[in-house]
């Protein structure tokens, strides 16, 4: 059902709430008496938005005359964004390094990014796609440079701006081509026009240009060069946020974009590409390159944040494996992996913040003997790392198992499966460099007795214990994703 602008507003309440929150955060900052409440305001806004989202449920509505789609697919991603924004704000308030930065500015940026992410996962129009991507990108540039006196942070911000604007320029160019081909920016109209268009070369070029923009958001090779520097320079909570939420949004956007424009039926669960474009081959090569590059470069890193940056590139490579197949099973596998990745990556970053609160850095050598002063959080970090490496009995294995079984069930990309599986052996090596330093090395003299931080510890425990819980019985999870996909 396509709703008119006015009727749409009621279904747009989660986003509107976030918008109001971001404005309120700024206003509260102006008045000294209200300023103390500013620490809690973002939580209230996010929870309120979550309540609206929950009440509305995963219904199917097309808002604003076809600009935005509310469906169970976007519902799932919105939930992930809200939870991660919530956790990041919680994490930030417990991070020593960014205690001095202007809180309201920081929180407002995060909330605006969240709105952008909402738009990205529910866009049904190229204009909304562009607005969503930019709404995420611009505050991201500021956030990565928010440590104003830190050289690395400044460098990160600058690199991000340059790469980001270049990529979004390419994307805009691709969008304009698509508009030229179809005469409209609406997904369904473009899809209809492309079905009768007989110029596959143009479609190839368009896809490539637009994928440059999306690929930079999810740090897909060869658009991943910004990732390590930005991840290293940004404050750790911001890095945690970048490694999860915009990636998930980018994946959501690619899924929706590809399935609703470039497949024959124009919906999820379709298995045929229009104009017999060999999309699978392109994706298979990109996927193999992305994960191999991510994993091989991660081995040499001596900074854990940088290492996890490369590891996040590798994980995107794993997810892209399923993009070689056009089917509902493939989407299911990707959603499952996004969900599990969201938990395990956030858990890993909680631990990094915990370490850098105590040692001041996130160098690998400063992890030496960390397990002796923080046995509980270290044990849960091991669970998380094993899960990231994709070993049973952790949920990361389930995610990979589904991705690989998609390859076996529907396609002939067995070589991709072999590359993927060898990559997970490589990844184990560097994840266990962290474990090795934590457990097997002697503690360095610098290591002081721990200042325990309850908030981080409990979030770490909750987020990493999912690795075992989902593993033990993941049927309900898969059933839920099946319903989303259908």
């Amino acid at each position: 059902m396509i709703l008119s602008n006015l009727n749409s507003l009621i279904w747009y309440l989660p986003e509107l709430t976030l918008l109001l929150t971001s404005i309120a955060v700024l206003i509260f900052d102006l008045f000294g008496r209200l300023r103390p409440y500013n620490a809690y305001l973002p939580y209230v806004g996010l929870i309120r938005s979550g309540i609206f989202l929950f009440i509305m449920g995963p219904s199917y509505e097309i808002l604003f005359e076809g600009m935005i789609v509310n469906d169970s697919f976007s519902y799932f991603f919105k939930c992930i964004f809200l939870v991660s924004a919530f956790m990041i704000i919680l994490l930030s308030s417990n991070t020593e390094k960014i205690k001095n930065v202007n809180n309201s500015e920081y929180n407002m940026m995060l909330i605006i990014i969240t709105i952008g992410l909402f738009l990205m996962c529910s866009a049904n129009n190229l204009v909304i796609v562009y607005i969503g991507v930019e709404l995420v990108s611009l505050p991201s540039y500021i956030l990565s440079g928010i440590l104003k006196n830190d050289e690395k942070s400044n460098e990160a911000s600058l690199k991000y701006v340059i790469f980001g604007s270049f990529a979004s320029g390419l994307m805009l160019f691709g969008i304009s081509w698509l508009y030229g081909l179809a005469g409209s920016t609406d997904f369904s109209i473009i899809h209809r026009e492309l079905l009768v268009n007989s110029n596959p070369m143009m479609i190839y070029l368009t896809i490539l240009l637009i994928m440059a923009g999306f690929g930079y958001k999810i740090s897909m090779a060869p658009f991943h060069y910004w990732t390590p520097d930005v991840y290293e320079g940004s404050p750790t909570p911001v890095t945690a946020f970048f490694s999860v939420a915009p990636k998930a949004a980018g994946i959501a956007l690619i899924l929706r974009f590809i399935y609703s424009i470039f497949t024959v039926k124009g919906s999820f669960g379709n298995t045929e590409f229009i104009q017999s474009i060999s999309w699978p081959q392109i994706m298979a090569i990109i996927s193999a390159v992305t994960m191999t590059m991510g994993n091989l470069l991660a081995i040499q890193q001596s900074n854990v944040k940088r290492m996890l940056a490369y590891s996040s590139i590798a994980h995107v490579g794993y997810m892209l494996m399923a993009f070689t197949v056009l089917s509902s099973d493939a989407i299911l596998a990707v959603l499952l992996y996004v969900f599990i990745y969201f938990f395990m990556n956030l858990a890993a970053f909680f631990f990094i913040v915990d370490v850098s609160n105590n040692t001041g850095t996130s160098k690998l050598s400063d992890y030496k003997g960390y397990a002796s002063i923080a046995p509980i959080s270290s044990a849960f970090m091991v669970i998380t790392l094993v899960s990231l490496a994709g070993l049973p009995p952790m949920s990361g294995f389930i995610g990979k198992f589904y991705l690989f079984s998609v390859l076996f069930r529907e396609s002939s990309f067995y070589w991709l499966a072999v590359i993927g599986i060898l990559n997970s052996v490589v990844s184990l090596y560097y994840y266990f460099l962290i474990v090795k330093n934590m457990y097997l090395e002697k503690p360095s003299e610098k290591l002081k007795p721990l200042k325990p931080n309850k908030a981080i510890l409990y979030s770490l425990i909750i987020f990493s214990s999912q690795n075992l819980l989902f593993y033990l019985y993941w049927t309900p999870l898969v059933e839920y994703f099946k319903r989303i996909v259908s």
């Binding site: 049973p392 690989f404 079984s405 499966a417 997970s424 090596y429 090795k436 457990y439 097997l440 019985y473």
Partner: protein, 524 residues
Amino acid sequence: MHSTILTLLIFIPVMGAVSIVAARSFRAKDSSHADSRLIALITTGVQLILSLWLYMSFDPTVSISESPFTVQVPWISSFNIEYFVGVDGLSMPMVLLTALLSFLCILCSWNINKQPMGYFSLFLLLDAGMMGVFLSLDFFLFYIFWEVMLLPMYFLIGIWGGPLRIYAAIKFFLYTLFGSVFMLLAMIALYFYSEPNTFNLITLIQTASSIDAVVWGFNVKYLIWIGLFIGFAIKVPVFPFHTWLPLAHVEAPTAISVILAGVLLKMGTYGLLRISYPLLPGEVASFAMILAILGVINILWGAVNAIAQIDMKKMIAYSSVSHMGYVLLGMASVVSTSTSGAQAGLNGAVMQMFNHGTITAMLFMLVGVLYDQAHHRWIMYPDDYKDKDLAGKPGFGGIGTKMPVFTAFVAFAFFAGLGLPALSGFISEAMCFIGGFSAFRTITVIGTLGILLNAVYFLRAYARVFLGPFNEKYSSLVDINFREVGMILPLAIITLVLGVYPKPLISMISTSVNGIIDIIQKVL
């Protein structure tokens, strides 16, 4: 009741591990470490009793598909994954071996002082993983237990091991993982190519042989066999993949070396017999020759390397490589044209798995006893030893006069290791050779050289360490104590009894083993 035992066998160690951690956190920090090892001892003791109980009520003549000794519960319905465990004649000896060695290893590591809570809880998790591998009849479950063992093993070698422990731990981890990921691909391929899609290893025996598809110009079954073989061969370890083994065995603490050599190596051959053999009989037939050649290379290569070693533990590690070669040779002889030859070979292989488990455990424990007192285990000091006065000199000498009981045990274990008649190793090795001879005459004849080479290194090491003039440096050594006798004596008794009267073992395994032979002989 029997089915409950199966589940308990796997999960009692897990409960033990949890209660060790719980007991530690509820007790005051300065309380003694005794409760960890006590809980571990009780847990493995209960497990041993349960496995003996299972053995008493076990009827070896019933085939697994009709066996009452199974539990089958659906787990993940969308992939037809089941919690499907059971015992047959193939897994029964392995279950007994695992339970026995786990119990004895807890005794063996009684004096661990470094973080005992971590040590014993990880050990119990390892125990659960091993038990799970031998009991699983669902491939997915099998794979999970297979991988579950890696993590505890990494920490057990990496934290409690010798000087090169960190390198040894990650090398072990990466080698095994490298193999098992190929196994994972083979597993997924088996699932999707079989009709109906299933991980159930019993159903797959019927359905897997009808797989017919071509990938990269090869038959899929062929590729599946290779994937599985890489996974299992690294664990055995088969010749080119064996380099992780000496390092891991030498660096690991004594109890973990025992587990590595006694149980983990058997998983490779067990996996081949449980999965590759019945599921892909046609490929077994075409690969048997290669398997036999690899087996003989293992026998000779392991033995020659063992001769060159001056570290007792490393020598025993290489002797394990050699002894696993016998298993491979026996397994390869399944394609023999004479059924009795095939039966001798495969039964011998399974017996050798059990016997080598007990004998090598004994050897490692004895070296551990000596190491605990002397703090080194050099037969000869290396030429570049850091203490210039000792370099190139014999490490021990004439220990027999100081530790007579210990020396007697060592003599027994060494003779068992070199395959002296009337001890269990002789029977299984002879059966492997009989089988091998009926199938691959020339190769087996070359392989018999291994018997001679085995004798060389065991006897030479014995002479250098325990005979000859007494080295006065070791006058403070005391003889083996009660606990140490307690952990070696059961193994010695088993070795002796099975050497004189192997019938209990043969009758336990023969029905299942002959079932596998039937499957393979049919496709020849």
